[in-house]
């Protein structure tokens, strides 16, 4: 690469490990906050996870002032407005998001409204519209996948206008991400598998696409190693606290990597498939990852080959000739997917989903070309190329 240039930014404090939740009151106090609101969804609350957070406030001299537990799977400006009103009425001064992607994005939206004293979220949509820090904002992820706890974007749909509003600002980054193994301990096997494959894809695309840089690379490689070493352990023994924490950390590290290096064609195709056929994001990632790597192999063989080390370990890496490592790395990912299919029926192909028809391929490909991530794919992709990859993934 000639004339290389990159930027890297991650100001999110990582609070990780056993009893991490109990650090929240102290961390709030350092930001001069004492009246937090919890934003979560019914599933998370029903699983008793909010109770862990509430428990952490015992003996802390601080109470959670308000809980909103009805964030829908697709967050909207209407929900954001409702929550912002609740926040103001209760005199809150900080936000703790407890949940996955939708809860986190919704909370970012709420933080915009309550900090900017606004009513209409669409006024703040776009790049760099926000110009000052928002209210103290913590994220407690309950899945190990999206990495939203360390990203500076949020996407919130506007049901009145029928559009998805994008928000991009450094001020959307949480002040802290709290990774406590208790929060992912009860995650069912198939969700654990899907979200781990999302995290793996973040790391692999960050490492192999055009935005790659040495600092993101370090996060990506470590994340891949943690996922390949711990995913099957967690599926074998779901209550293995250490392995759960490893996956949670891997997800955050992959999030740091891709929020700085961006993602590529796996995400372009996955976003379109998810939107058209209503399939979970992690499932889409699992489905396309090896096919896209094969598509990029001729151009990025050496770089993909480097991933054999974190994917398969030192012995396999050392015994594989350099020229074959790229192919071997892809095969390792295929074996992982086969194993996940055996254990929790996670589909490996479009046909295995049972939710896609062949005549949708054209539309999925067209939509993928308009996805922002496609520009970072190291190999150019036109309509025929996208269709070819989709057909391989059939």
């Amino acid at each position: 690469m000639t004339k290389a240039y990159y930027e890297f930014f991650c100001p999110v404090k990582i609070v990780a490990g056993n009893a991490a939740l109990e650090h929240i009151p102290y961390e709030l106090r350092t930001l001069a906050a004492s009246r937090p609101m919890i934003i979560t969804d019914k599933g998370v609350r029903g699983a008793g996870l909010v109770d862990h957070v509430l428990g952490a406030f015992a003996e802390s001299g601080m109470d959670v002032v308000e809980i909103f537990d009805d964030v829908p799977p697709d967050s909207s400006t209407t929900v954001v407005k409702t929550i912002a009103k609740l926040y103001r009425d209760s005199g809150c001064d900080s936000i703790i998001a407890v949940g996955g992607g939708s809860v986190i994005d919704t909370s970012k939206g709420v933080n915009i409204l309550v900090s900017e004293d606004g009513e209409d979220l669409s006024e703040f949509s776009g790049v760099g519209v926000l110009t000052k820090p928002l209210r103290p904002f913590f994220v407690v992820p309950t899945t190990a996948g999206t990495g939203s706890e360390v990203t500076l974007v949020a996407v919130i749909s506007d049901p009145e206008k029928g559009v998805k509003l994008p928000f991009t600002s450094y001020f959307l980054l949480p002040n802290a991400a709290i990774l406590d193994p208790r929060m992912t301990l009860t995650l069912p096997a198939h969700i654990t598998a899907m979200t781990a494959m999302d995290a793996l894809t973040h790391a692999v695309e960050a490492f192999t696409c055009m935005g790659k840089n040495p600092i993101s690379d370090a996060y990506a490689v470590s994340a891949i190693k943690k996922i390949s070493e711990n995913l099957m352990t967690v599926l074998n023994t779901p209550d293995d606290v250490d392995a759960r924490l490893e996956l949670a950390q891997a997800s955050t590290m992959a999030g740091v990597a891709f929020s700085n290096s961006m993602v590529g064609l796996v995400h372009s195709l996955g976003h379109s498939l998810g939107a058209l056929c209503h399939l979970p994001h992690g499932l889409c990632m699992n489905l396309f990852l090896p096919y896209v790597l094969e598509y990029n192999l001729a151009e990025r063989g050496d770089i993909i080959g480097e991933l054999l080390l974190p994917l398969a370990g030192a012995d396999v890496y050392a015994s594989t000739p350099a020229s074959e490592r790229g192919r071997a790395a892809i095969n390792t990912i295929r074996e992982m997917r086969d194993e996940l299919y055996r254990r929790c029926k996670l589909p490996r192909s479009l046909s295995e989903t049972g939710k896609v028809t062949k005549d949708q391929i054209q539309k999925i490909a067209e939509m993928a070309l308009d996805d922002g991530s496609i520009i970072f794919n190291p190999v150019e992709v036109d309509l025929a190329d996208a269709i070819a990859v989709l057909e391989k993934a059939w």
């Binding site: 004339k3 240039y5 990159y6 930027e7 776009g126 790049v127 760099g128 994008p166 696409c209 055009m210 935005g211 961006m262 070309l369 308009d370 996805d371 922002g372 496609i374 520009i375 970072f376 190291p378 190999v379 150019e380 036109d382």
Partner: protein, 181 residues
């Protein structure tokens, strides 16, 4: 002292000719895109999917140079000039004149400029992706291959007709536009 003055003026890293060069190239690209949209079907297919009256610009922050284009009719783009009559629907912004220079002198491709955090999109990403494809297509048609391969991730398979006949027609229109405005 002179050096300090130069530093303050930015002469040392920008050079006195970069601003006029970038302004000229933006003018050429704007007119080239207009001409290409009248000739090339691939570009027309992309433009057709943009909303009616769609306007976009490409600019160097903080204050230009800039070129503004608008969709007119069903599938063509017209060159508006260097100032936008309203806020464009999509704005492609270089963080610095120097970054615009790298791309407009074809030393750095558009995709690389995005990946290197030098080029920002303000507005709907899906439209911006269509615009990037139009720009790439135009570059492949009118630039000599040795130059275009540096700027593009992949040089497209062009038929001789596309490269010579369509490229030639784009040139003719471009020259006409430049000379007669």
């Amino acid at each position: 002292m002179i050096r300090l003055q130069q530093l303050n003026l930015g002469d040392l890293n920008v050079g006195p000719l970069k601003r006029p060069y970038v302004a000229l190239m933006m003018d050429v690209i704007g007119r080239g895109l207009e001409a290409a949209s009248q000739v090339d079907e691939t570009i027309q297919r992309e433009v057709r999917k943009l909303p009616d009256g769609f306007m976009f610009d490409m600019r160097a922050l903080p204050d230009g140079p800039c070129f503004v284009m608008q969709k007119d009719g069903d599938s063509t783009l017209s060159y508006i000039g260097s100032t936008a009559p309203r806020k464009p629907d999509v704005s492609l912004k270089f963080k610095h004149l120097n970054h615009a220079f790298l791309v407009l002198s074809f030393q750095e491709g558009t995709a690389r400029a995005f990946a290197n955090d030098r080029l920002l999109v303000d507005g709907e990403i899906a439209y911006a992706m269509k615009l990037v494809r139009c720009l790439n297509r135009m570059e492949s048609l009118i630039l000599p291959k040795v130059v275009a391969v540096r700027a593009l991730k992949r040089y497209p398979q062009l038929s001789l007709k596309e490269k010579l006949a369509d490229g030639g027609r784009i040139y003719t229109r471009l020259v006409k536009n430049l000379v007669w405005g």
